[in-house]
Every structure is written in structure tokens, then in C-alpha cells.
Amino acid sequence: MSIQDQLVIAGRAFRSRLLTGTGKYDTFETMRDALGASGSEIVTVAVRRIDLDAPGDDITAYLPDDVLLLPNTSGCETAEEAVRTARLARAGGLPDWVKLEVIPDPRYLLPDPVETLRAAAELVEDGFTVLPYVLPDPVLQKKLEEVGCATVMPLAAPIGTGRGLKLRDTIRIMIEQAEVPLVVDAGLGSPSHAAEAMEMGADAVLVNTGIARAGDPVAMARAFKLAVEAGRTAFEAGIMEEQAQAQPSSPVGGTV
């Protein structure tokens, strides 16, 4: 694959346009196998206190060595909390990349745009590669780009709902004006949703629940991988224009 075909975020090239999350799997073994089947090269993790009485298994033992671990700031409700979490992750040896989530709303898990922008500016200033998770909002997109975010990541539908591209029209506007890679993140429940996002021109998608909560996560991971490749190939191939009227595919006249 040439560099032009690759996903480039903050100067780093990736062959896969499918980012994945590690949450909601029944077992770490299934997670490991699904991530392998997905071909994903960027994998999110959350950051939480260790329960000193029952530390349990270390997830990183089940993650491939050659993927980029992307710490998220899930659980943070303010810019200060998100910045603190990102700094802790970086100091402890995780990459200086962050999936910035600032979410005060427990019902729909919608991100706070004001706190997200504040945190993004501070984190970029502090040297982080920032991937902010937002509601589709073209005006916010421009502000996040201006403060130096490496991507903008609009949700298709609320986290974990699997409802697909409910917010496609606004995402389309964002794709049209994007100056940094646009990653559709959250709400993609089936591979066809991911393919649709890629056909629209998204640079990548991030999928967690759609794979982890499938009947067979390993098979579904492969299906998403194929869908992302199909959607991207279709986008680059130039999808035919819709027509209002039927156009015959076989010759008119000369019938027997």
C-alpha cells in the first residue's frame, strides 16, 4: 500500500482505517482474537485505579505489541480531569496520544464541547497528539483543528447504541470541510454502517461495541475490517451518481 493510501495521523502512517476499542468483551482472550482479526493498529484503553485488594489481570498482556495504545479520558467530566488523566497515562509509559472524551451526561454519554475544546487546547500545548470525541458540529470541528487536534471524531449515534449514522448529514458537512482526518466514532453497530461512513469519505472509523457485543466477535471483527476496506475502496473508486429515473442496463431495441 502506498503512503497515499494510508491513514496518516500526526505524521504517523497506518494501513488500517479501523480503530478499535477494548471494552465490553466477555474475556480478554476473545478481545485479543477479535483485535487480531480486525487488523486494527490503534486500540483504545481506559485508565482506572487499580483495586489493590483484587488487582486482576493486566489487559496489556492480551494486546499485541505492535499496536498503538490510545488512552481515553472516559469518566472525566471536566477539562481538568481529562488533562490529569492524559498526563498520568503519558508519565506511566503509555503513548502521548489521547482520545479525549469529556462526558458529563450519563444517559446518552454526549461529550461537553466547551470542556473538550478547553482540554484539547491545553493538551496540544503540552505536546499530546489529541483525538477529540465530539457530537457532529462543523463549527466545533474548525475550532478543534485550530487548536491543533490531530483528528476530529464525531459520533454516528450515542456510544453503545449500534444505531448507525443517525447524524450523517452533519457528518457529511464535516467531511467536506475537514483539514485533519475525520474518524467516525461511536454508534456503528454493523459493518454496513462502517462501510457507509467510509463511502461518505470518512478517513477512518472507531468501533468497539459493534464488535465486542456481536454474537461472534472474532468473525464480526473480520467483517468490519472488510467493510472498512470496501467502503474506502468505493469512495476512492467514485460511487455512481443517483438518478431519479430508471436507466436501462441492456440495449434498447433490437429485441428478438
Binding site: M31, V45, R49, P55, T60, A91, G92, G93, L94
Partner: protein, 67 residues
């Protein structure tokens, strides 16, 4: 006796305890243990150098499953 607080729990502090020594004693040999001391993150490269003091408040975290 000296003590510190780790993730909200009291832990005894032994003379000369470094962050590394504490993590060992807590059985945390994880690939990643993320440490914050008195509100400031501690660089992993300094775990063996940073000496803990009586009354220190530590948060020890790590990467876990998440989307």
C-alpha cells in the same frame, strides 16, 4: 510509623521506600502501573529514584478495557 495513602487506603511506609519498592510490595508487576504522587504524575523512568515520604497520597492506576 510512617504511612502513606494509596488509592484511598492507608499503607505503611518503610524507610527508603521508592515508588518501585512500593509497587513491588503491593504485588503490582504490571507492564503499566501509572503513578500520581500528591497530584502530580510520576515519570516511569523515575520510579526507582523517587523516594516516598510520610503522608504522601498516591494514586496508582493502569490501562483497562475501554472504548
Amino acid at each position: 510509623m510512617s504511612s502513606i495513602v494509596v488509592n484511598g487506603k492507608d499503607e505503611s511506609l518503610q524507610d527508603g521506600d521508592t515508588v518501585s519498592a512500593l509497587l513491588e510490595r503491593l504485588g503490582l508487576g504490571a507492564r503499566y502501573a501509572l503513578v500520581e504522587r500528591n497530584g502530580e504524575p510520576v515519570e516511569r523512568s523515575r520510579y526507582a529514584e523517587v523516594r516516598l515520604e510520610d503522608g504522601d497520597r498516591l494514586v496508582v492506576a493502569r490501562p483497562v478495557a475501554g472504548g
